[in-house]
């Protein structure tokens, strides 16, 4: 899976929107191909017989934009069309090499924040590990 896209999809919505706004003046004309909410069906694999089956659908927001030959895409969980559009803008900038250093730094900072949050969660989970003894 692509790390930058996965990071942008889970990045803090407010920070993502603020950052994407700073990129807007840097683009030439942008064509919005899609900006909508919709559903993504999520399958999972059954461990008994190995069959993939559908758990259900997740509400997502999607944005698809184009500038010249380059395209930008955003898809995030929940209904927040501004956030998915912001993701698409950062993706487009990364593809076109616009504000490359700032975009990479933004992604790295957000990835670090997400990773730190996961570590905190897992430290709390680890506190519930059973050190089992039998007599």
């Amino acid at each position: 899976m692509t790390d930058a896209l996965s990071t942008l999809a889970r990045a803090d919505a407010a920070r993502l929107k603020s950052f994407a706004e700073t990129l807007v003046p840097e683009f030439a004309e942008i064509e919005v191909l899609q900006s909508r909410s919709g559903l993504v069906m999520l399958p999972i694999r059954d461990t008994a017989k190995g069959v993939a089956f559908h758990l259900g659908e997740v509400l997502m927001s999607e944005a698809h934009i184009r500038s010249g030959d380059a395209q930008g895409y955003g898809m995030r969980k929940g209904h927040d069309l501004e956030a998915s559009m912001a993701m698409a803008l950062v993706d487009l900038a990364l593809t076109q090499g616009i504000a490359a250093e700032r975009c990479q730094a933004f992604c790295e900072n957000e990835a670090a924040a997400l990773s730190q949050r996961d570590i905190e969660t897992l430290r709390r989970v680890e506190a519930t590990r059973v050190d089992m003894e039998t007599f």
């Binding site: 559903l39 059954d46 559908h54 758990l55 659908e57 997740v58 989970v125 590990r129």
Partner: protein, 354 residues
């Protein structure tokens, strides 16, 4: 069967809905947020039964129906039909689940160890009545460990297959729109396994528990042992228009493997659902374990349990009986009166002449 048109109830109908909604009053975004934050397990249950994952929508449905769960699920199932399907994500694999809780009742020393995660299993069931006297309810905070728990673990069944206790399933390459989908195809019997597991994933919790419990108590053929119970978050792996795949976020899922110990190898049943709902998964996996070879009409037979645990259909069928059945009921009464009159006439005919 005959239908007659009636009128005269318009005002009563409108006022009855107002009377229902008046009890809850209006609600705003703050109430939706409060429901979402304070009742995550109820939100999970509603999302699972609606087979629509969004905490905000589930909280709105609960606020709007005053917690009438069947109505809340119906609202969400109806709403989902208004939305386009953007993609089918890549199938979630066990070893990619971000794991919060993973326990086994079958083996003490499962690889990766036993991690209890969030649970009330060992809690004292004492109602916090002191809150009514004005005291705050403040649970003690978790003392985090120094090192994080490993996020990813294979299923316990994989480890058992390595130890020749189970046969590893054949790889199934079905993905995307080729995966059978109950929201677009009818449920036919014998059911495709993908349909069975999808139907159980969106089944009504109480119904699954009732039939699963019947199997556990002895009306099934196999006694379940929980091989693995897991609460986790699954990545939603989608595809960029240029072909790159990425995770568009995580959703909470729960899953259970249950086994029985007949023959030379273990028998295994499986179930999973959106949200964290252990009872539903263990009960559903028990039904899956028991269904092969079950007698027609038994609670563990797939047609029986799949039809009877579909919450929207079953609750809808149940409540339709309160709607006017005047014509059919009058017709039955006429038949009863006619039979009674004929019986009386026959008795008179049998009496000897004076």
């Amino acid at each position: 069967m005959a239908y007659v048109a009636t009128r005269g109830g318009e005002r009563a109908i409108e006022q009855s809905e107002r009377l229902f909604r008046e009890a809850m009053g209006g609600f705003d975004k703050a109430r939706v947020t409060e429901i979402k934050q304070s009742l995550p397990y109820l939100i999970d249950r509603v999302m699972g039964e609606a087979s629509l994952y969004d905490e905000d929508l589930a909280a709105i449905a609960l606020a709007q129906t005053g917690g009438e769960l069947y109505e809340a699920v119906l609202l969400l199932r109806a709403w989902r039909t208004t939305q386009p399907r953007l993609q089918v994500a890549a199938p979630v694999e066990q070893e990619q689940l971000f794991t919060h809780r993973r326990i086994s009742a079958a083996f003490k020393d499962i690889p990766g160890g036993q991690v209890l995660g969030p649970t009330l299993d060992y809690a004292h069931r004492i109602l916090a009545t002191e809150v009514l006297q004005g005291a705050d309810y403040k649970p003690a905070p978790v003392d985090p460990a120094e090192a994080p728990s490993p996020a990813y673990q294979p299923s316990v069944s994989t480890w058992q297959a390595e130890n020749d206790l189970l046969d590893l399933p054949d790889p199934d390459g079905t993905e995307g729109n080729d995966i059978p989908d109950l929201t677009r195809e009818p449920l036919l019997f014998p059911s495709k396994r993908a349909h069975t597991l999808q139907s159980l994933a969106r089944a009504e919790t109480g119904g699954v528990l009732a039939l699963g419990y019947a199997a556990m108590r002895g009306y099934g053929q196999a006694h379940p042992t929980v091989n693995e119970l897991r609460l986790a978050e699954a990545e939603i792996e989608v595809t960029h228009p240029d072909g790159r795949s990425f995770s568009a976020g995580r959703v909470k899922v729960s899953q259970a493997e249950v086994v029985d110990k007949k023959g030379e190898k273990l028998g295994i049943g499986y179930a999973a659902t959106f949200g964290w709902n252990e009872v539903k998964c263990i009960a559903a996996a028990t039904l899956d374990l028991n269904s092969p070879g079950a007698d027609k009409g038994a609670p563990t037979e797939e047609e029986f349990f799949l039809y009877h645990t579909e919450g929207v259909e079953s609750s809808g069928f149940c409540i339709h009986f309160k709607l006017p059945h005047y014509v059919t009921f009058q017709s039955s009464l006429d038949a009863m009166r006619d039979a009674k009159a004929k019986k009386a006439a026959a008795n008179i005919a049998k009496e000897p002449a004076e």
